[in-house]
Symmetry: D2
Subunit: 452 residues, 4 copies
C-alpha cells in the first residue's frame, strides 16, 4: 500500500508535495520520495522514514520546481531497502521518465521474466519498475500510446503518476482497484492524488473528480487531456472505504465517514448486545462506533486515548520497550471503562493480535465485558491488489470460526457485519467493488499472469 | 507550561523516560531533556524539538542509568534558547543537583534580584534556575531542609523533580497549582510525573496517588519518604482539567474525561440551540461535545479529521506554506457538515484566531450554521502560574463582549459555560481550584513578590 | 574519477570498507556507497557527501556482511544526483548484481543508444549502468563469460568491482587505464581496490599485486580465480602517478613518491633558477619539491600550511565566504616566504586559477619572487578515460603559450618538465603509459564508439 | 587545551567565526560553540563534535550577528559532557555575559569552594565557570574593574574572550601562559584569537599583535581600549611552540616554524647519527626534521603519508577497528623506508605509545634502523596550565631513563634535545618561557590555591 501525488502548477510545488504527502502518511510510513522538474532536469530525493523525518529545508531548495510527484510506502516485510523506494527514474529514448505507483500487479513475476528474457535488467525488487520499463520501452514519441501498450500487458491494480517531458501524467487500471482523484483550480493548477485530503488542503479544488477506471490523464502547457483505455469493470477496493482511507475520504462515490457510520448502524441491527457504552478503536473505527451507538441508543464514549506524537522507531528495543511503544499508541480510559459493559467497534480483524492486546488492556482497566463488533466481514483471503494482508496462514478468520476467534482475542462476544449489510451501507451497486479479501472472488486472477 | 517526569528503578530508565516524555508531549513541543545518574555521574542530554526528534539510539546508550528525570517545554515567545531547556544542573557543596520544573514563580524577578545582589550569577532566563539555586544554596547536608527553606522563599506554582545524591526527589507548591502524581510498583520502582499517562503506560502503577500540595518526596535505597511543608491551600489549576491535560488524566480528584463530558452536559442545558449535529474540536473538546450531544439529544458526529503525523516545522515558510501547515492539522469533513446546522464544542477561546479560522473553513465546507459552545468561561485574565496565556491585550474576552467575540469569530451563536456550571461539573468544592484566568482572583499575587 | 574497493573475508567487512573508502577519499568527495551481502540479500547504502558524513553506527549494523564493495565519486558538474551514486544494483536472470566502476567509457552514448533500441531502460546518467546492463544481459550461468562478452563491447577505461552470487568479482580494461590492485592475507581474506593504501591499512597484504590489463578475478568459497581477456596494450594513466594517487601509491610498477621526486630532480636540471627556497604545493607536489631541492642544492622548506579539518560545504555562501573557505585550505607561511625568492613545485596546471590565487597570496605574504615549476608537461587535451579535466576551452595550456600562462598566473618564471624528462623519471618504457592529456595520442578514440 | 576566538565587525560574523574555529580545530576536537549578539539578545549554539559536524546552515541563520565569540575544546577524559562546552552564559546585574576560556586555573577548587560557601551554585565542572562567576559578581557598572578584581583572585593560565553589553572583551593572565593575539582591519573590524591563523584567513590583519600578559581589551562603538593589570612575569608555554600551535603560528615573538626547524638543527649537532634519511612525524615534527636534515646533510624525505579526511569517531569499535582508525592517520611509505636507516624527528614523547606503534609499523614497512630524535626535552612533569598531559604515572619520561624509553618504544637510538639547545633555538631569553613540563619549575604553584 502506498500513496501517490502529483502537482502541475504555476508556482513552486516542493512544499505542496511535502504537505500533501504528509496528509497521506497514513497510507505508508516506511519510505518517502519527491521528484520534480527544474532547470537541472529531474531532481529526486527519497529515503526511509516519515516525510517529516526525511525532508528538510535543504531538500526544498534542491526540489524547487513547478511540476512534481511524490510517494509514500507502507512497511513491507521483504522489501525494506531504499532502492525500493519511489519514485523511480528511467532514461530512455532520450527522455527522462519518473514514475510512482500505488497498487500491485498480479503478473509482475511473469512480466519480469519475459522482460529479463528480452534483456531487461532490473535495479529494484518492486513491480513499479516493470510498469516504468514497459512505459519507457513502449514509448515511441507518444506517451499516451506507450501507456496504452503498457496497460495491455500489466494486470492487477495500478494507480500511477508520472513526470514526463514537462508533463504530469497519470493512469489508473480498468478495474479502478486503487483510488486516484484529480483536482483543478480556477487559475490552472492541477493535482492528482490517492485521496482527496491533499487536494482540499493544498486548495487546488475548484473542480474535483475521480479518475475513471482505465483513464489516462496528461497535463501540459496546453491543458488537461483525458484518454480511456481497456475494458472497464469497476472493482473498487472496498477495504479502502472500510479501513485504509482517511475518514474524510470521498473516493469513487463512497464517502468513508458516512459509509463507516452506516456500517455501524447496520451492525447494531444485525448484532445487538446489551451494554453500557459504545467505544471506537480510533481513527477508522470511530464513525462505525457512532453509527452503532446511534442505532442502538447505547451512548458513545471515548474509551481509548490516542497519542498524537509518534515518530520514527528505534533499534534494539527489548520486549519491554516494544510493549511500551505499543501502549503509547492507545491508552484505555479507566474512568470510562471501569465496571462497564463495553461494545468496541473496530474496522476489521486481520491477524487478531492487536484486538487481543487491546481487549486485555481494556479488561485490566476495569471493563466488565467487552463485546467486539467489526464493520467488515471476516478477512479470509489475501489481497493481490496492493493491501499488505498476510498469507492465509496468518489470517485468523481463514483458520478459525468466529467463536474460536472470539475466544482467542478474549472478547465476551464477537460479531462481524454481513456482506449484504456492508454493501447496503455503501449505497452503491455490489458489483462496483472488489471484495476478494472477504469472499475470494478475484476479478483478475494472479494465475492469469502465466498467459502474458 | 511543561511536563516533568522522574523514575527510580531497579533497571535502566532511559527509554522509559523517553516514552514517558513522549506521552506528555502535548504539554510541550519546543525542547526536551533527560538527565540520569550512572557511573559517569550526572549525564544530561537536552535540545530543541520533539522527544522523538532529539533523542536517538546513541542518546540511550549515553543515558543508561537507574535513576533519571526528564522534561518537555512549551514554546514560549521570549525564551526559545537551548540554554533555557531543562533539566538544569548545579554543582554545589560537593554535590550534583539536577532539577526540572513545571509552573511559574510570581516572585522570580525579586528573587533573582536578591540572589544577584548576594552574588549569584544566572546562566539561563528561566525561574527554574532560581529554584535550583535556592535549593543548592540552602543545602547543608539535608536535602529536605534545603527544599523547605526554598519553599519558604519561592511563591507561585511549582511542581519540581530532582536528581540528588542517588535519590529521586520531588516537591509541589502548597497550593498544588500544577499537577504531580506518583506511582509505585510492587517490585519497588517509583515514578513521578505531571500526569498519570506515563505511570500507566510504563506500568509502575500498583499504587498511584497525587502528591499533596506542599508535599516533599524523597526516594532512595531505603524507600519512599514523604514530608510536608507550607500552609496548604488547594488551588488546583482548573484550566488543566478544561484543556491542558490528556483526556485520560486523573489529577487531584478530577477525571478530565468525565469533567469535560459533564461540562458539555451542563452547557447543553445552559445554552441550548437547535441544530443537526454536535461536533468537537479534537482532542480536548471531544468529551464536552459528547456530553452536549447526550444531554441535548442532538447526534454527535466527527466533523473534523485530525492529521496524525505532524513533526518539526521548517524555516522560511511563506504565508501560503503557513496556511498549508494549519490546514493539515484539522480538515473539515464536508460530507458531515454540508448543509447542516452545526454545534461545535471547544474547550476554550483565548485569542480567538483559531476559532475564526476553523469556523471559516467549516462554512467553506458547507456548514449552514455554526454555533460555538465553550466548556469554560471566558478567559479574561492572564495566568501567572505557568499557563502561557497572552497578555490581556491579546485575550479576546478581556477586550470584547460575547456578542463582539461571536461576530469576530464568525459564529452564528456563541455561548460559554457559566462558572457555576463548570464548577458543578467538577463535583469538587469550588475553593480547591484556581480559576484566576476566569475571575482574576489570584491566590498568590505577583505583587507579593516585592516583599521577598 | 572515483575509487572502488571490494573485500571477501571471513569476518564482517562493513567497517573495513568504510575505513578503506576513507583512505581513498582523495579520489572522490561527492558521494559514497557501500553494498554487502548478508542474510537479507544485497544491502545497499549510498548518498552524497564524505564517507565520514554519510555513514553512521546504524549504517554498520545494516551493512554487516562478509562480502562487500564500496565506491566514492568525484564531484562532476553535470551528474551530481544521488541516483548517479554507486554501487548500482541489478536484478536479472534470477540473480542480484552489484557493481562499482572507476573510469570512463568512450562508447557510452553509442552503447546506450543501442541498448535503448533493444529495449533497455536506464535509471541513471552514468556509464556504469551500461556496464552493469551488459554484464547482466550477457549472463547465462557463467559470470566470467558474461564479463568477457561485456568487455568485447565496452571501450575505454574501466576498473570494475562486483558482488555476484556470493562472489567478489573484478575486472580491468585491456589497456589498464585506471589502476586496480589486489591483496590477499595468509588466512584467506581478499581485497581489491583502486590503490594500495586500503590494502596496507586494512592489513590484507601478505600478497599484493596489480590486476593485469584485461584480467578478470573471481573470489569465492573455492578461492581466487584469474582469467584474461582482450588484446592487452598497456596504457596506464600517467596522470595518476603525477597527481591523482596518494604519495604512498604503488601502482603498475610506478611508485608515486619516487616518481614525483625524480620528476623534481629532472626539472631542477631542465629548468634551474636561482632562488632561496624550494617549497611544495602539498600533498602531491611535495616529493617533486624535495627532488628539486636535492638536485639544485636549494633548501626545501614548508611554505604552505594545510588545514587538516575540512568537512562538508554549505549552501548560499557569499563570494567572501567562498574565499574564506579557499584560504582555509592552504595558508602561506609569511615567516618562511618573506623577502625570499621562492621556487614553488606543483604537480600540474589545469585551469590556472588555483595557481594564480596561490601566487597572489604568497606574494602578499612577502615572497619577493615566485618561480613556478611543474612536474608534468602542459595539459593540452581533455581526458576521455575518467579524469575530470575540463573541455579544451578551459585548459589554459591549450590556449596560451607558456609565457602567456606565466603572465596570467603572476609567476616570475614558469617551467614545465619535458615529456622525455617525465618519462625517464618513471623508469618504465614510454609505451606503457597513456599520456593523451599531454600529447593528444588517444589509444582508444571516442570516435570509434560509432562502430559499436 | 582549547581555542578561543572573538570578532567585532561591521558585518555578519557567524561564518567567520565558523571558519576561524575550523582553522583552530587542531586545538580541540571534542566540542565547539559559537555565541553572538543580535536582536534576540545573546544566541548560543554549542555541542559535541567538530565545528564542521555540529554547525549547519540553519545554525548560521540563527547565529547572525555582528559581534560574536567561539570556542573549541580538547577531549578531556573526565569532562566530556555537553554542559561543559563553552562559551558559557551568565545573567547578572541585569546584563548578559558570555565567556570562553583557554587555559587552566590552579586555584579552581579553592575558588569554587569559597564561592560555594558564599552561596554560589555551579552548573558545569569547568574552571571557566569560576572565571565567569567572578567577573559577573564583581561587575558593578565597569567591566574592566570587574575583570581586574577577577584577575586578582584567579591564579594560573587564562586567555579569555567575552561578549558583554555589545562589547567584545578579552583578557590574558599576567604570565601570558596561553597565547592570545589581536588583529584589526583598516575598516574597523577586530578579531582576537588563540593563534594568528584565523586572523590571516579571515583577513582582519592590517595590524596584528599579541595581547600583552595582563592586558585587558575592550572593543566597542568607540573603538579599541587597552588596559593592564597584574604583575607581569612572562611565562609563555614553550610546549605551544614545540607542539601545539600550527606551523604557521607567530605567537609571543616565536615563529613556530622557524623555532621547530632550528630545534632540528640543534638536535642534529647534539645527537648526530649515521643514517640514510630524515623523516618527520607530520605535521608539527616536519620543520624539525627539515632542520635536522639540513644541518646533518642527510636527505629529508616524506616517509609517512597523512590521511586528509578524518571525521567524527564511532561507537563500539573493536580492537581491530581501533587499530584500523589509527593506521588510517599515518601510513608508512614502504618505498621510502625499505632497507633504509631512518632518523625520525618528532616534537615530543608523552606516553610513548604512539611512538612505539609508529616505529613498529615503520619496521614492518622495511626500515632497517629507526633513530628517534625529539625536538623537546623529556616531559617529566604534568602541566597545570592547560595542556592535557597525563599524571606523572603515565608520563614515560617521569618513570624511565632514556635508554629504557628507547627500549620500550623499540627505537635503535633515541635522543632528546637539551634544554639549552631548545632555548637557544627560540632566540628569546630563557625566562620568558614556562618550561615546567620539562623542569618542574612552576611559576604559579597549584599549592598556592590554598591561600585564596
Amino acid at each position: 500500500m502506498s500513496a501517490i501525488i502529483g502537482i502541475y502548477s504555476n508556482s513552486d510545488v516542493s512544499k505542496k508535495l511535502f504537505y500533501g504527502l504528509n496528509s497521506l502518511q497514513h497510507r505508508g510510513q516506511e519510505a518517502s520520495g519527491i521528484c520534480v522538474y527544474n532547470e537541472d532536469g529531474v531532481v529526486l530525493d527519497k529515503g526511509n522514514g516519515l516525510v517529516y523525518d526525511h525532508f528538510d529545508d535543504s531538500s526544498f531548495e534542491r526540489l524547487s520546481g513547478k511540476i512534481g510527484i511524490g510517494h509514500v510506502r507502507y512497511a513491507t516485510a521483504n522489501k525494506p531497502h531504499v532502492y525500493n523506494a519511489q519514485p523511480l527514474l528511467a532514461f530512455a529514448k532520450g527522455k527522462e521518465f519518473a514514475l510512482a505507483h500505488d497498487g500491485s500487479l498480479v503478473n509482475d513475476e511473469a512480466l519480469r521474466q519475459k522482460l529479463s528474457d528480452d534483456g531487461a535488467v532490473f535495479q529494484t525488487a518492486i513491480d513499479t519498475e516493470v510498469i516504468l520499463s514497459l512505459v519507457a520501452k513502449s514509448y515511441d514519441g507518444d506517451i499516451v500510446e506507450a501507456i496504452k501498450k503498457t496497460m495491455d500487458k500489466i494486470k492487477g491494480a495500478y494507480s500511477v503518476i508520472m513526470l514526463f517531458d514537462n508533463k504530469l501524467v497519470a493512469f489508473r487500471d480498468p478495474n479502478g482497484f486503487r483510488p486516484l482523484i484529480i483536482g483543478e483550480s480556477a487559475d490552472g493548477d492541477t493535482i492528482i492524488a490517492s485521496e482527496n485530503a491533499p487536494i482540499e488542503i493544498i486548495g487546488i479544488n475548484d473542480k474535483v473528480r475521480d479518475l475513471e477506471p482505465g483513464e489516462i490523464i496528461v497535463v501540459d502547457e496546453s491543458g488537461l487531456h483525458s484518454y480511456h483505455h481497456g475494458d472497464v469493470k469497476r472493482q473498487h477496493c472496498i477495504f479502502e472505504h472500510v479501513y485504509f482511507a482517511r475518514n474524510d475520504a470521498n473516493l469513487d462515490g463512497v464517502n468513508a465517514y458516512n459509509f463507516r457510520r452506516r456500517c455501524g448502524e447496520v451492525l447494531a441491527k444485525e448484532a445487538p448486545v446489551d451494554a453500557d457504552l459504545v467505544i471506537a478503536v480510533p481513527d477508522s473505527g470511530t464513525p462505525g462506533a457512532m453509527g452503532y451507538a446511534q442505532e442502538s441508543g447505547i451512548p458513545f464514549a471515548e474509551g481509548l486515548v490516542k497519542n498524537r506524537y509518534m515518530g520514527r522507531t528505534f533499534i534494539k528495543t527489548t520486549q519491554e520497550e516494544r510493549e511500551l511503544a505499543v501502549k503509547l499508541k492507545l491508552n484505555p480510559l479507566e474512568t470510562v471503562l471501569k465496571g462497564k459493559k463495553i461494545i468496541v467497534v473496530d474496522d476489521s480483524i486481520v491477524r487478531g493480535t492487536t484486538s487481543r492486546n487491546l481487549i486485555k488492556r481494556m479488561k485490566e482497566a476495569g471493563a466488565e465485558e467487552v463485546h467486539f463488533r467489526i464493520i467488515s466481514p471476516p478477512v479470509k483471503y489475501p489481497c493481490y491488489y496492493g493491501i499488505d494482508t498476510p498469507s492465509r496462514k496468518r489470517l485468523i478468520a481463514a483458520n478459525y470460526s468466529i467463536e474460536e476467534i472470539r475466544e482467542r482475542i478474549g472478547a465476551d462476544s464477537l460479531a462481524f457485519i454481513s456482506m449484504e449489510g456492508m454493501l447496503s451501507a455503501s449505497r452503491l451497486e455490489e458489483d462496483v467493488f472488489c471484495k476478494a479479501c472477504f469472499d475470494g472472488n478475484y476479478a483478475v486472477w494472479p494465475e492469469e499472469s502465466d498467459e502474458v
